[in-house]
């Protein structure tokens, strides 16, 4: 997997999402995190009173023919706080960006099964996107747990 970056539009979307998730504590510029899949923009969010409020990272997963860029944010306990779709580049199947679908990931912890059709609802006609985004969340969660220091 190549490195993942953010263009201005996605960076702004990420900034708004982080502000919504973590409030004023979110920092503006991401670090570039080295993973075995390539470099990923990532944030370690410091709590205002000191300590860690959480962490977030950007990942890219394959859609039917175009990539889907997601932002995954975890709390200090390593559980998912929110998932944001920063860029969906195909014309059809964009329902993975809907809040009702993304909401089911909240509270999921690293290693928890995220099988589409069981723990995660499928969206008819968007099976590739739903499986891809679920797999993306599953591989981001342990990385974020590492960032917040959850073993």
């Amino acid at each position: 997997m190549p490195d993942v970056g953010l263009d201005a539009r996605m960076a702004e979307k990420a900034r708004l999402a982080l502000h919504r998730i973590f409030g004023a504590a979110s920092q503006a510029t991401p670090d570039l995190l080295e993973t075995k899949y390539g470099k990923r923009p990532a944030w370690r969010i410091r709590a205002q009173g000191g300590g860690i409020a959480g962490a977030a990272m950007v990942d890219e997963v394959p859609g039917k023919s175009e990539r889907i860029t997601i932002l995954v944010a975890s709390g200090p306990d390593g559980r998912l706080m929110d998932l944001e779709v920063l860029a969906y580049r195909e014309s059809y199947g964009g329902e993975v960006a809907q809040d009702a679908w993304r909401a089911q990931f909240r509270g999921k912890k690293p290693g928890e099964p995220l099988k589409v059709g069981r723990q995660i609802r499928n969206i008819s006609g968007a099976t590739i996107s739903t499986n891809s985004v679920s797999a993306g969340v599953a591989r981001c969660l342990p990385v974020l747990a590492g960032l917040v220091g959850v073993p």
């Binding site: 490195d3 263009d7 201005a8 510029t29 995190l33 993973t35 075995k36 006609g125 591989r139």
Partner: protein, 402 residues
């Protein structure tokens, strides 16, 4: 499965800004394929067959995040080599406008072509997303009517063959030149609509209704620009769809009428897909109106119905978690009940055929070792109201898309 130790990160590098990696263009390859073994165990046909029904190669190119090209090239039944016989046409007399007789040779024509296969462009269009929720596509497009026409990869439906409804009622794969705009006005609602080259009434009729009336985008007769629209609404566990097609079928034949909407056909079709904890429900139903069927019959004698109806209900359940709780695979017994009638109402000059009122029950098993790979086995029971030519088929198949 997830390996918590699978992710090793060597270092945190702090950078002021992150360079964009999304302006680069990209070409994607993909495709789908399906092969089948079909054994008729009852009915007039006794020979079984084995076939690579379809092999479709897919090439897409993203010029940037908004502008892309998509294409599908299809080979059906493996071979497209023609065994052809040509015959030179005899010299014919042509009378010119001023009354002179001129001898012309009209060249040679194919008089016998036999090939099991078929090579075709299934889709070829440019898609331009104007914003995050709207855009348009133009070129050779799939007609957005029903579920199967746009989503027809073999791993997306149960049974070795597509539903009868998606063959003889909604004639999949139905495609033609056109332009379609799409957009999401509110969350969960996806709308698309546009203008496409129409159907040809000179070929509509019989058991398969609109099927022969399709053009395929190769020098399509564009005398009847037709309107098509589809709305999809996504609910937490279901997706609802409503599609419609309206257009003339005269093909510019003045005997029928040279207006854009002459000998019009109206298709209205609804669909539902739902899934919950391993249960899957799929249903489609529709009606096709051809008010000028009498006129088409007078001119072309293909026995068109004035009204056609069809629908199916399919249930499936993933039993694999009951057997292997941790499995990532799926094993789905399914059953589908279908009914179509392309002679539901006929004009006075067409004798309604009971054979065109067809019922099919398909029951079988789909094993999906991966979401994009299906091994299939089914038994289908096909009957019609004429009580003859009922067919029972045992089918085995494999399909995948990537």
């Amino acid at each position: 499965m997830l390996n918590r130790q699978g992710f090793l990160f060597a270092a945190l590098l702090s950078l002021g800004t992150v360079a964009s990696a999304n302006e680069d263009s990209k070409t994607t390859l993909g495709g789908y394929a399906e092969a089948e073994y079909v054994n008729p165990v009852a009915g007039p046909f006794t020979k079984s067959h084995a076939d690579v029904h379809r092999l479709v190669l897919f090439v897409a190119h993203g010029f940037n995040d908004r502008l892309s090209f998509h294409s599908e090239l299809e080979i059906e039944h493996v071979l497209t080599e023609l065994s052809k016989k040509t015959t030179t046409l005899t010299t014919i007399d042509k009378v010119t406008a001023n009354g002179d007789s001129v001898k012309t040779k009209s060249g040679s024509v194919l008089t016998d072509v036999s090939s099991p296969g078929y090579l075709a462009v299934e889709q070829a269009f440019v898609d331009y997303r104007l914003g995050t929720t709207a855009g348009f596509r133009t070129g050779l497009l799939l007609v957005p009517v029903g579920i199967v026409n746009e989503t027809h990869e073999p791993n997306t439906y149960h049974g070795v063959h597509r539903p009868l409804y998606a063959n003889s009622f909604i004639p999949t794969t139905w495609r033609d030149l056109g332009v379609i705009a799409y957009g999401n006005p509110i969350e969960g609602l996806h709308l698309k609509g546009g203008v496409m080259a129409g159907l040809l009434g000179s070929n509509i009729g019989g058991a398969s209704g609109l099927r022969s009336g399709r053009q395929k985008g190769g020098k399509s007769n564009a005398e009847n620009l037709s309107l098509v629209a589809r709305a999809e609404y996504t609910l937490p566990y279901a997706k609802l769809g409503l599609s419609s097609w309206f257009g003339g079928t005269s093909g510019g034949d003045t005997a029928v009428g040279d207006g854009n909407f002459d000998a019009s056909v109206l298709v209205v079709a609804g669909d539902l897909r739902a899934e919950y904890q391993g249960f899957f429900v799929r249903a489609e139903a529709g009606v096709i109106e051809l008010p000028d069927a009498e006129k088409l019959q007078r001119l072309y004698k293909k026995n068109p119905g004035e009204r056609m109806v069809g629908g199916y209900l399919e249930l499936a359940y993933d039993i694999l978690p009951l057997l292997l709780a941790e499995s990532e695979q799926a094993l789905l017994p399914f059953v589908r009940y279908e009914k179509i009638d392309t002679h539901f109402e006929v004009p006075t000059n067409v004798v309604g055929s009971a054979a065109n009122s067809q019922t099919q029950i398909v029951a079988g098993l789909t094993w999906k070792p991966h979401t994009q790979v299906s091994f299939k086995a089914d038994y289908s029971w096909q009957r019609n109201q004429s009580d003859i030519n009922g067919v029972d088929l045992v089918k085995l198949g494999v399909g995948c898309s990537f």
